[in-house]
Symmetry: C2
Subunit: 426 residues, 2 copies
């Protein structure tokens, strides 16, 4: 087998790894990276190998050596450097916001109190205790709930339950979440207005083959808008009569209290509700849940079983305790306050540039920005409009995600944006 191992030289692997750490912001501009001997110890390799990796990173302009002190991550020299340094692309929360110490305490308590059950697989549908807790917190019925390994798995299960030909049978919002476009190979779209889908376009698109409508009605990704109650009622009515199922992706519903006014409330027999818990805790918590119509429940359970049997039980129990103990609410309160502050700062900044327009009705962790001038830059620190839509209309837009940067870096990130926009405006 040895001929198949290490085709890529080790120094290159190490260089790539360190580069990824820099781009992901784990090693920040101006920060000293671990010394050669530390890296050599980490990868159990020769110091010369690490030296070679460092040389490569030096050549690529990612780090610089300060004699007698070590190697430091370089500040981006050009403003259109890859966006990784100031990541306004990622819509997950910064990892540093998550209460790690509290998580550690809760996991230890689980080992003390439930040791014998910690590695016993729960039913495929999920840990009974977690289901009860989520049912109360989110005010959704426990009997039709299914724990999933994140919202992406929720979409994948929908694809499994409804079978092939999905690209013909799913109607999407325009714009929408790119993961859904890719997974379903989206072809049919209904344009969004400030209060939800364009009603006439919706009725036009609802042909006989449409069986599903994928919607992010609460805090839309990327638009940040919310469907009006009128639009929701119209769609619920069409779902019942056409009929079709609504895939209700409740992206960041926790930030607004919409309980009682969601599709899962308005037309539970037609709503496939998907809730990611990664978006509101931390990206590494790969967990979420679905609530599905009663007549589809068995099919979803079977699809979940054939996908991965069940989600990791210790993680389920941890999230149960995290919510039950009130830590989730406290975390969300802190996040909401931080998000409001950062949003205000960003809007104030954007207001200084005539070519930028931000609709004010936006919520969540993103700002959808319209830009009246050309954005023909090789690298940008945000997500371009075309990632969310095929239509030309959104080419001039971009999404700024403002909750992934650490507190320490956010102000530098603002400054970076200011310089970048100033250059564009020239």
């Amino acid at each position: 087998m040895s001929s198949h191992r290490h085709k890529v030289p080790i120094y290159q692997l190490i260089a790539t790894l360190i580069e990824e750490r820099i781009l992901s912001g784990h090693y920040k501009p101006g920060q000293r990276i671990p010394a050669i001997r530390e890296v050599a110890a980490e990868f159990e390799c020769n110091k010369l190998t690490v030296q070679k990796a460092f040389d490569r990173l030096n050549q690529r302009g990612l780090i610089e050596k300060v004699v007698g002190s070590g190697s430091y991550v370089k500040y981006p020299s050009k403003i259109h450097e890859p966006g990784g340094f100031y990541d306004f692309r990622t819509d997950y929360l910064a990892e540093s916001f998550f209460p790690h110490k509290q998580a550690q305490r809760l996991i230890n308590a689980l080992f003390e109190n439930e040791e014998k059950q910690l590695f016993v697989p729960p039913p495929t549908g999920g840990d009974t205790g977690l289901i009860q807790v989520l049912s109360q917190y989110y005010e959704v019925p426990a009997e039709r709930m299914l724990i999933i390994s994140g919202a992406q798995q929720g979409l994948d299960l929908v694809a499994k339950v409804f079978g092939t030909q999905l690209s013909e049978s799913v109607l999407f919002e325009d714009p929408t979440y790119p993961g859904a476009i890719t997974l379903f190979k989206a072809r049919h779209f209904v344009p969004l207005e400030d209060d939800g889908p364009d009603k006439d376009q919706l009725d036009k698109q609802l042909n006989a083959r449409i069986r599903l409508f994928y919607a992010i009605p609460s805090i839309h990704n990327p638009l940040g808008i919310e469907y009006s109650p009128e639009k929701k009622n119209i769609i619920a009515d069409r779902a019942l009569n056409h009929p079709f199922y609504i895939i209700e992706d409740d992206y960041l519903g926790e930030l607004r209290n919409n309980n009682g006014n969601r599709f899962i409330d308005l037309c539970p027999e037609r709503a496939i509700y998907i809730k990611s818990l990664s978006q509101t805790t931390v990206a590494g918590i790969r967990l979420g849940f679905m609530v599905v119509p009663e007549d589809l429940l068995d099919k979803f359970i079977y699809a979940k079983f054939s996908s991965d049997i069940t989600s990791f039980v210790l993680l389920q129990k941890f999230v149960r305790e995290f919510i039950k103990g009130g830590y989730y609410s406290a975390h969300l309160d802190m996040i909401k306050e931080k998000a409001a502050r950062r949003k205000r700062q960003l809007i104030e900044l954007a207001d200084q540039f005539d070519f930028l327009t931000i609709s004010c009705q936006q919520d969540g962790f993103n700002l959808w920005v319209q830009c009246s001038t050309s954005l023909d830059l090789p690298h940008v620190p945000w997500c371009r409009g075309e990632e969310f839509s095929f239509s030309n209309k959104y080419r001039s837009c971009f999404r700024l995600s403002y909750m992934h940067l650490d507190d320490k870096v956010f102000d530098q990130g603002l400054q970076y944006l200011k310089e970048l926009w100033a250059r564009i405006g020239e």
Copy 2:
């Protein structure tokens, strides 16, 4: 929403939950179950509700009340009671074998040493450190490895990568793992002999549509056999020339050192290697890995991403430390010894019954038993032959999994089998 909640009365949910705990062996025959007030506290409900649940369990003969002491799990009154009490169906290891205290220490160390990275999603392919460790431990190339949430997800990814019509394009062993039959809707089979697939039948089945062969060549499930080197070479040859890919499910390869002699070694460009880590650690550890041919790697990574983005990072790091620290090896040594002892006891027992035959060339955590008399019992504590095969030939066989019972219960389980077989023999 309230009209949709709690359609099932709470007392019934509680009764079901306790029944599941009894059937899963969490509450053992003869053991006192928690008092009504404790259960009421656990589910935050009324004591009368719990009383009602206990009444129901009493009626169903699952528990009995001992005045002044509490309620106890009843011993199965008839020998053909559901198999849950002495579970010889489940081929996962007993949870009590797993070193929980050590796991807790390793997780705490991760919180101390790598706190900032614990909830940062790794690349879709998996945590780089875990990949390195697995690559060394299993002697497989790291560059083509992919971390998955268990072997079932591995099969699911194969289904995704190769697309629809799998039931026409996959050849299976007869008998084989039921999860594979269900997932792929298996239709094409090649009978197994003591040293692997029947060569003539294999060549007969290899028509132009067959693109995959699903094999458990190392310690077969359920047969316990191993392919001979000759058979492996024949199959590797066919895989290269037909050509087709071999899905090599290395079910319990750790129990035999086959490194260098697996399909992933013999024909790496044609082997899709799947390794569950749940089978050799504990069922609740939903993790495993795949090694795939270079030309399929991107497709598998994409399939993994669209399934659930990435497996839970803390679990990946834990398994990395578990293997790296030598705890995995120590655990496996203990398991091997225990399995050998239990196997000996079971074979000795079966030898006392003329109608039972056990081929001696079996390894792993299961015994495949042939029974020359009728097994027309409503409930049996093992897996029936027909769960692994459509052919009549295996109707008279069953699989005894002997590593899921706790040490405390195993001897009782042996006694239970003895009584059951004595009754059958009458």
